[in-house]
Assembly symmetry: D3
């Protein structure tokens, strides 16, 4: 059940925080995973990877096998302090149309990656090189912090963080996100009039605040 490009484009218009709320406050990936430049955004279908600590062979395979529009989502077995990804891999992935990288570990060559505008979300930057023994998992369900990410799930990330939307909830999530934005637009109008949220949400009367 592939999600259409139109739906993916549409869901990518919302912020990660809005989608997290639309999902009933779920789907948030570890908050330590952030874009290497605050302007970077990412949106696409998950191609999942689990690497052994300090080994990046699976990442070479991942970008070779993934399809255009995929986001590589990578669990590094809790060993963050290595540069699992760099400028050459970014170039190769970009050439293939890969939509970006979301990795629970570090990367390197930040300037070059930023220059080629390939979205990378990571724990940070680290020059430490990796091995290439190659054990791990490709395109199967993986754990990312508090949630499981399945191949084909939708990944949306911005400066605030990254969210995963299960495939079967995409349409529903878009609808809820739209409703939330509409509601927020109305609240914004009230706030601009000088009302506070206790008044707008009726908490002043409900709780006597």
């Amino acid at each position: 059940m592939a999600i259409s490009k139109e739906l993916i484009n549409e869901i990518g218009q919302f912020s990660a925080a809005t989608l997290h709320e639309a999902l009933g406050k779920t789907g948030n990936l570890p908050s330590g995973i952030k874009p290497i430049s605050p302007k970077m955004k990412v949106c696409g279908t998950a191609y999942t990877v689990k690497t052994m600590p300090c080994d990046n062979m699976m990442l070479h395979r991942a970008y070779a096998y993934a399809k255009a529009g995929d986001v590589l989502v990578v669990n590094c077995s809790n060993f963050y302090e290595a540069g699992y990804w760099g400028d050459l891999m970014s170039l190769g992935a970009k050439m293939k149309g890969i939509a970006g990288l979301v990795i629970d570990g570090c990367v390197r060559d930040a300037d070059d990656i930023e220059a080629m505008d390939f979205p990378v979300f990571s724990r940070g930057l680290c020059i430490k090189g990796t091995g290439n023994h190659g054990e791990g998992i490709l395109n199967q369900p993986i754990i990312m912090g508090e949630y499981m990410v399945n191949p084909g799930d939708i990944i949306v990330g911005d400066r605030d963080g990254v969210v995963v939307i299960p495939q079967n909830l995409v349409a529903e999530t878009i609808e809820k996100a739209r409703a939330r934005e509409l509601k927020e637009a109305k609240v914004r109008i009230e706030l601009r009039k000088g009302l506070n949220s206790l008044q707008i949400y009726g908490w002043d009367k409900k709780y006597g605040y």
Copy 2:
């Protein structure tokens, strides 16, 4: 004993580091609390808040009750990984003239907050939503890292960090900060002549360095 706007403006001219030194090396809030954009600065009177972990009702109440010129200073019961504050609350607070937010936890909607130029100092960014059960403390003394912050204390923050100045020490601190800046200006002249600090402070002779 309210501090006059003039004094607050004046103390806000000094850097957080200078005020910390003028206070006898005290008053430094946890160094993990930093502005979400390095250019942000904050200065105002503390309106203190303690929230339960992952709950932000107290923050809604806080900006409703606080007065123009107040800085919300928030202890989140050591649960950092939630987005306790966002763009709507920033808008509401800004409308009321709240001077900024200093929170020992995370926030979200960084781009929107930055765009409206509302100063937010936090542990970082996190999309994880919060509940609104509402337990906590409003405008009473709270602990922030190594120091107690009392309602009405002066809060000054910049890229280097945040400092709290007890109300009764404001005038004295300004005086000492001025003296320190004057002394530093003189040291700067000596340094530009090529002298080093061992010579300037006389440590070369005192200790034989």
Copy 3:
């Protein structure tokens, strides 16, 4: 056996990550040590310092004793949360021609240091002041994370991190770094043709990937 300025300039053209690889994946300093502004780069000969926790007298002595072109490399006895270095010391060091600071601890006065373009690599920013009892070590071998740094070793740092190159390996490392860059340039051409790394490195045939 001093390294010539020409060699130092030459080695400073390579990125920290490239030099780390050229060294056989060694020499990486703790990845938590990063430039206070992402554009900063540092390159020079190590003048090593070990301070006691929360004491910076040794740093005053270090910049007074070090020579032009030296980079101060500082171990703070695992107490990161203090501002061991600031704008005055940066000015004094810059006047002497010190090439930069790499410190396993925090600093303060970030705006002023950035304005004077003195390269500072640190664990972060912290306003907490230090004492000046003065115990510690000057210009002797020190531990920085996983490696020992000897006085006179070459230090190269950029946004990705910092690497230490032992004096006797400088020429060899430059050669290997050049070879690596050449090889990467060739790989880049292949990647731009649409080949992936499995194909370029022959891993598809070797491992059946």
Copy 4:
């Protein structure tokens, strides 16, 4: 597909480390979760719980709903520093025949729990009290560190740590664990003769060690 008591008893004879190996090096729960007394062991079917930070209502419900032989397996939303469980709950659970508690958070009343010999595996001890708002998840799949735990999975814990065995792998895992123990018994005989593992596993010849 319930697992028979016989199989559960049988699998409980193996150590957590042996079962982890028999599972192909999977199923290990976070190593920070340890018995409050090193002699405690636990074995049973998982009754899964997710609590909000600092709230234990779900744990009251869990032991009321779980059946004899169940082990409560609890995710506390990454807020460890609270005493989610104590002597009264241990007594209530023990009365119902609950086989033990495995919680990714802290507990309190350690002496009393130890005295009644109810197996508790936790991050440690903490006196901080919890609320009872009651949000969370009961008996549905939850994440515990690197793995998902499903209701009905088998949990085995000892001083070394805790492992989860998926229901459908129980018989196969027992077989593999038996084979491993047999193989280890043979290795033990060789080791007692004075051979080392390079010789026993043939690594000396294979790799020239």
Copy 5:
């Protein structure tokens, strides 16, 4: 307003967790502070100390100045990894009738301290020696984690953790702790009959659990 020995003895009969609850879930010191032997208990009036990182002169002064029945409560400026206290200081303190040590840092000579049965609660054990420059604070209010400890407050610690009871709340806290123990005794009887807490507290009817 000194607390009588009788009241101190009486409050020491309750567990730290019970007193924390009787205080309205407040007063819990950092849960990382634990007895060096699980059997140790401590109870007495707080003599407060703040040391500089890695310096223990203040501790020598503290046990010399404190009176029999006092517990030394020590903040080490967030530098835990040093052995601030050992067997000689334990002997000296014990000779004076000091009731124990509660330190937010490490100690050493654990076997000897245990042998002389002097209660020590710490972050752990560390052999690293300290200096004796002597800056710090004696017998003034200090911060210990989430709470302030005032000289003369009552400190009670056991294997579960440590609690501070403000002087003016001692009588009231004893009363509430007694009431809580009585209530728990009744709950225990109900639990032994086979009822669960949902039934005992009426949550089954109130919430439909």
Copy 6:
């Protein structure tokens, strides 16, 4: 320059803390490395090992190559959360007369290791299995926290922690440790008379304490 068994036995009579002090407050290994049972002690000559993260082949080789009386001292490249060592390896090492293991990582099979009385000092216990790719370093200088350990250095560990004594300082360190113990014995007599350390060390007069 091998150290005689007599000297090793002699140095092993001192506590780790005493030897650390005798070395001028140096040589302390990371305080997170502790015996798996508080009664364990270790003393011997260092056989050094550096493993890749989550790989223990080097440990198999290490105990095969080391000689009776050696202590294996292991750096696991900062990946602690794996069980690098277990009961079979302990048996093999014990058969060869290896004096113990000091590892900056975790181990498993704690009960069996304790039963065979083989001293193991580690970061803790973890069931997670390791690979055997085999990269690393054998019997060359390695970094252990703040210090370098050279093959042949003397390692002494007890419940308080572990210390490394450079080969060439053994005789001198024994002498200083003896002097320290003698001095402490005298202080102990003074303390038993009721004097405090301010009086005994003359700090009362020197500093007016």
